[in-house]
């Protein structure tokens, strides 16, 4: 640093003298302003969501007003409408695809991440490179043959098709994330375990997994978000039988036309599980999404 230490002290002293307001108070005043700005921006970002939820409790008549209505007689009629139009099976499909694919990702991904971190195999970085590069390949380029193959083996509109594809979609990212969590396990612990005579699987289960379980949880959460929200495979490969909630949303609109209130109710239901999960686990979410680069 080129600046000497005594200059700022002088400046600070004179600033305090002339500026009347003591430094501390001034700083907290600035913070209040930043706080106000942050609140305004936060509310602005959230407002569309808020409005969606609000609209979902309106009658269609209340939803279509030239001056948007903030106060109205709330009704559950839209939610009833959505459920009576057969949302149930779609939710079941979404839950099945999300939960099962996430379980498969963990079953395949935890051992792989372990092999790529704590007991590195040869060519580790090549394998990692391969995994991440599959994420770089756009799925659109694969959809045609996937459609053709799935069609030929009679798996169109079958939930297992989505489960397998979602597993493939999330596995590479999950391996990357979990590897970075594994790398945080101190090597001494594994050495201690090997001196203690613990076999590999016990070391993993009793010592490593408890340490990295927050990381695994974060990874699972991210897989859940991406699987639940996935649309491209779902819309192209499923229909009435295996359709997921996003597919329902689309079908719902095309069959019913655009009724805002009802549509808001459907969108709220579609978004709710992931939003709640994300709210509850926001810290973990960051940790996972940054490949563990931050705590």
């Amino acid at each position: 640093m080129a600046i000497t230490t005594d200059t700022p002290t002088d400046e600070r002293a004179s600033a305090t003298d002339e500026g009347q307001t003591p430094r501390k108070q001034r700083r907290s005043a600035a913070n209040v302003w930043f706080g106000v700005i942050a609140w305004v921006v936060g509310i602005a970002f959230f407002f569309p969501v808020f409005w969606m939820v609000l609209t979902s409790f309106k009658t269609e008549a209340d939803a279509y007003t030239p001056t948007p209505k903030l106060f109205f007689q709330p009704t559950l009629e839209q939610y009833e409408g959505v459920f009576s139009s057969g949302l149930g099976p779609y939710i079941a499909n979404s839950v099945a695809a999300t939960v099962l694919s996430t379980i498969f990702v963990l079953l395949l991904g935890v051992p792989a991440a372990f092999a790529l971190s704590l007991r590195p195999v040869k060519k580790t970085s090549d394998v990692l490179f391969f995994f991440i590069s599959t994420k770089m390949l756009p799925v659109v380029a694969a959809i045609v043959p996937i459609y053709v193959v799935v069609n030929q083996i009679g798996m169109l509109d079958n939930i297992w098709t989505l489960i397998i594809l979602y597993t493939g979609m999330n596995l590479p990212i999950a391996v990357w994330m979990m590897r970075s969590f594994f790398l945080e396990v101190p090597g001494e612990l594994l050495e201690q375990a090997s001196i203690d005579g613990a076999p590999l699987w016990r070391t993993l289960r009793e010592i490593v997994l408890p340490i990295i379980s927050p990381g695994i949880f974060a990874t699972a959460l991210i897989c859940v978000i991406f699987a639940w929200n996935e649309f491209f495979f779902a819309v192209n490969l499923t229909a009435a039988n295996a359709g997921t909630v996003p597919v329902f949303l689309v079908g719902f609109i095309t069959s019913e036309g655009l009724y805002w209130a009802q549509l808001s109710a459907a969108a709220t239901i579609a978004a709710l599980p992931v939003v709640l999960a994300g709210w509850v686990a926001q810290n973990k979410l960051v940790q996972g999404l940054s490949f563990g680069a931050v705590k």
Partner: protein, 295 residues
Amino acid sequence: MIDRAEGWRRRAPLLPALVFTIIVTQIPFILTLFYSLQSWNLVRPGSQEFVWFANYVDVFTDSQFRQVAINTVVMTLGSVLIAVVLGLLLALLLNRQFVGRGVVRTLLITPFLITPVAAALLWRTVLLDPTLGLVNFVLSPFGASGTEWISQFPLASVMAALVWQWTPFMMLLLLAGLQSQPSDQLEAARVDGASAWSVFRELTLPHLRRFIELGVVLGTIYLVNTFDTVYMMTQGGPGVASANLPFYIYQRAFLGFDIGQSAAMGVVVVIITLIAASFALRLLFRSFSGEEELT
């Protein structure tokens, strides 16, 4: 040293994930390559024949395809960069102490969690509707009422929705980056008499660099595959004004049933993406495995 048996023992946990990923993600690409050399339209059964590079010739002489490719670049990079800049500003804001910081953060991350299909619907109707939408209502004092956002500015409308969804992600990542900056560094700089701006430029930004890189890479991976938002908001229209490659290929394959053509486009997309990705991957690798090379 690691003998052969030990080598396999170490590799074993990796193999299931590796094999699965190869099957699910690589075989479709090989098939894509194969189909791209054929003339094959699903609506004309038995039309399958080998035509070598005819499909590619068509792709490159297709002016719509070029337009769509440009749209894809603009949509992807534009959204990512805007989201990173906004995300950085928000992260700096949230990195300060103020009342209700946790709540504001929760509000801010919500758009990222909303199912993209639902988000797109929300934008298309409640927000951007020319007569009843909130945006025009808010802007009406400025004389902007009646703007047909979706048909007049289709690409910008889609990007607005994408930015709205991805800014929270960037904000979370960069906030975590800011909070991982060692406070003694900042204190040392303060003692050295650095101004807030030079602290930001000389310490904070370099520290954030790898988080910014990570955000750009991850954002690009996901946004280049954007399908749901385009599908729900504009259907690529008017014309192909807001179509991106995923949507265009989808149209060719599932509305035009032209397997050969869409496969050829897929291959072109893969090649373009690979070029871009190898650049992005290098960034990613430099940030995350440079320190602990394992081979």
